[in-house]
Symmetry: C2
Subunit: 453 residues, 2 copies
């Protein structure tokens, strides 16, 4: 008999502030660089596409930032999200480890993405913007922004990576159901898109270029990014703050916190409130970032300034990168197919506070199935990478004979990824891996920017 | 600014008992009839396919039945489910009505179905059964049973209606991800299936015949039905009990409770705890059952004894029916395409306690989109019928100038139904309706059973 498996917070426990880790990090933050001058970019470089409130959050040195009341109201539709003890998985692994998971798939869009989408939509609405434009790969961010725009009466335009547009008509229908307009990228609606017509299946980098171009050229339209930037990581910290409160309810503290990394916002949102405690000497938590072997940014990338998009319209950011025009192989974890990562997260990896591991597609789906058959939730292919890492940790704890407490970030469900499960069950899933040749090519394509000190 | 939109119960508020409405109903319950003799069927007619615990629940005259602790443990994975005040929908409708919705889509299978699947899987596991066999149309029940069987280490075999099997590969992949075996129906694995090979797209009635045949012929295999029968309605009453507690938290009582009806288990689960209060003179709630115009069992069917399946293997039940071999047009609300309905619910309709209304496909999808764009959740096509009825009630309350309190049962999400939304958005959805000719044919095909007194 299992005692208690779920730790529930009531709505009044939705965090009132976001955790800003920037002031806790050692040294001065490395500035983004203007793509035109390669000099540090200022607010003026961003205000064509972001509202001042968001720009302020991007560079804020305040330890916490208040969540607007209207944003908390929308959060109430699915927050606080549940924390579970994975008793059934523990028994299947026969491990002394205690495994907990924080589940963000209960949001209407099915992932953690709405935490930032709602905050960005509200800030833009307050700034008098009529329309937001963005890009989406797997569809999670586009869905989240479409949903958030519907809540605040904003128009929403989504450039969807061509390959996903063709393979995932249901994600497209979801965005359209919330009222968004979805355009296949590369498109002929932008210069950036026309310049990339030779890549008909598109990429996240190309779609970002298209969206940024539209926002820069239309005063009533702003751009919204779903990961990487500081303000997106900031918004996601509701996850980790709730998790800390729920781990207290469970009467345990996490020895290791595990999440998957695409652009880093899910990982940041879960871990940054825990990282702050470590940086302040209040805890000794380890952090484990799981990424795909097909797009191993943190484990294989170069730590350099690089563009956020393919065409080179965005500021350059200091990060681990596989090269801004790298097009990852078509693994099903579409949300993890990005050449770079959040500069803040990259700094933590560089400083050794966060350990990164890369996993192949088949081993992550094996882990996902084991999770589904024990804990019932069918995970998205992205958090399946984190589940694989958790299983490694739980097996290691068994070898060590330790009651290790492991906290998993389960960032979303796999309801729109069942074709990937179908392929896995049929034994037809490929295991693409990043090669030495890929790496050499990536290094050769990096922009001529200053080295990071 | 919106005050409070969600009413959250902690796990200790998961009901400890199911509500059995049978002893509250006026008169003696009408017995099912044996298909062989047309005489009242007894436990012996059922024990080849059901465990005694379930048979006992089917005929119990106890006012409440205890929920086994192991079942409550699994319920904790998603229960208690949230109750919301639909402030945003109310504003969009400009109605003085207060609309609440109880959301069952947070279960791992995405609907209310696991409430009974878990209870049935556990009862069969306790009885020493190795395998459960069932049928599924839209896929909700098959998914729920696959998930429940994985929790208790049972094998699961699902006969999936041919048309759904072809159109919904992702529901199939979901069941297989939980370890179930899925067979397209009609199949050549059963006599019933072979006899219906002339209906290659299948029907729920044919799939039931196949599953019952397999269960009857294998001592280690039992059958599990996802709706209609008393014990299934019983298991679902956790919904209504939680809703009563949550409406108390909201400080309101429902004037009208609205749900969709396929076989009746969702509607029963939501309403029966409220109906008991009405029957005992403790409340004056109205009840509204929404069904598709393409399969209008409660609004157009004959109140007669009929089989539960196409071939005629199941006992005959007293219910509104469109004829056991009626194959409804392929509307997207696959969960509502059943020729009969729960005998208990049919009795309440017959007695005037429950009002039934039928809606066409396009008007239900229009309602679903309005709901998605205000309340964020994308509803399944089945509860979209109930949403349509709620909008009618809210508009009527506006005309009457009443602060009517409306409670909606939102039985599941539409994540596996996005192709239907796609068709609706493209203006390509049909509006099939049950015709007079259909009705005449149905009446001509009813079995030669005693009339209902």
């Amino acid at each position: 008999m299992i005692d208690q498996t779920k730790f529930t917070l009531t709505e009044d426990r939705i965090p009132t502030h976001w955790v800003n880790l920037l002031p806790d990090l050692p040294g001065e933050p490395l500035p983004p660089l203007s793509p035109a001058t390669m000099e540090p970019a200022g607010p003026d470089d961003l205000k064509a596409i972001f509202p001042m409130e968001i720009i302020g959050q991007e560079v804020s040195m305040d330890a916490q930032v208040e969540v607007p009341e209207a944003v908390r109201e929308v959060y109430k539709l699915w927050r606080p999200t549940p924390l579970y003890r994975a008793h059934r998985l523990e028994r299947a692994l026969d491990t002394p480890a205690h495994v907990y998971y924080k589940y963000e798939g209960v949001s209407p869009a099915g992932s953690h993405k709405p935490n930032s989408a709602v905050a960005q939509a509200y800030a833009n609405k307050q700034a008098g913007v009529n329309r937001l434009v963005t890009e989406t790969g797997a569809g999670q961010w586009g869905s989240a922004l479409a949903m958030a725009c519907a809540q605040f009466g904003l128009e929403c335009l989504v450039y969807m990576v061509g390959a996903s547009y063709d393979q995932k008509p249901y994600r497209r229908a979801m965005m359209e159901s919330w009222g968004a307009t979805v355009i296949r990228s590369p498109s002929d609606t932008t210069e950036a898109g026309r310049s990339q017509a030779t890549h008909p299946t598109g990429s996240l980098g190309i779609a970002i270029s298209e969206a940024v171009e539209v926002a820069a050229g239309d005063p009533g339209t702003n751009y919204a990014l779903g990961s990487v930037l500081n303000h997106v990581c900031l918004h996601q910290t509701v996850i980790g703050q709730e998790a800390i409160a729920q781990m207290e309810m469970a009467g345990e503290d996490a020895d290791v916190v595990v999440g998957c990394v695409g652009g880093g916002s899910n990982f940041a949102g879960l871990t940054f409130p825990f990282v702050r405690r470590v940086l302040r000497g209040q805890a000794k938590t380890r952090f484990l970032a799981a990424e795909p072997a097909a797009c191993p940014t943190l484990t294989r990338g170069a730590y350099r300034y690089d563009f956020g998009d393919t065409v080179g319209l965005t500021p350059l950011m200091p990060m681990y990168t596989l090269g801004h025009d790298f097009v990852p192989p078509p693994v099903h974890a579409g949300g993890l197919r990005y050449h770079g990562d959040s500069p803040m997260l990259c700094g933590l990896v560089k400083n050794g506070l966060v350990e990164a591991r890369a996993y192949r597609q088949n081993e992550t789906f094996a882990a996902a199935l084991q999770f589904a058959r024990t804990e019932a939730v069918i995970p998205g292919p992205e958090p399946a990478h984190a589940i694989r890492a958790v299983i490694e940790e739980a097996e290691d704890a068994k070898l060590a004979g330790e009651e290790r407490v492991i906290l998993l970030g389960l960032s979303g469900h796999g309801h729109f990824d069942m074709s990937a499960y179908e392929s896995y069950l049929a034994g037809e899933l490929q295991d693409p891996e990043f090669s030495e040749a890929d790496m050499e090519a990536a290094l050769g394509r990096l922009p001529d920017a200053p080295a990071i000190a």
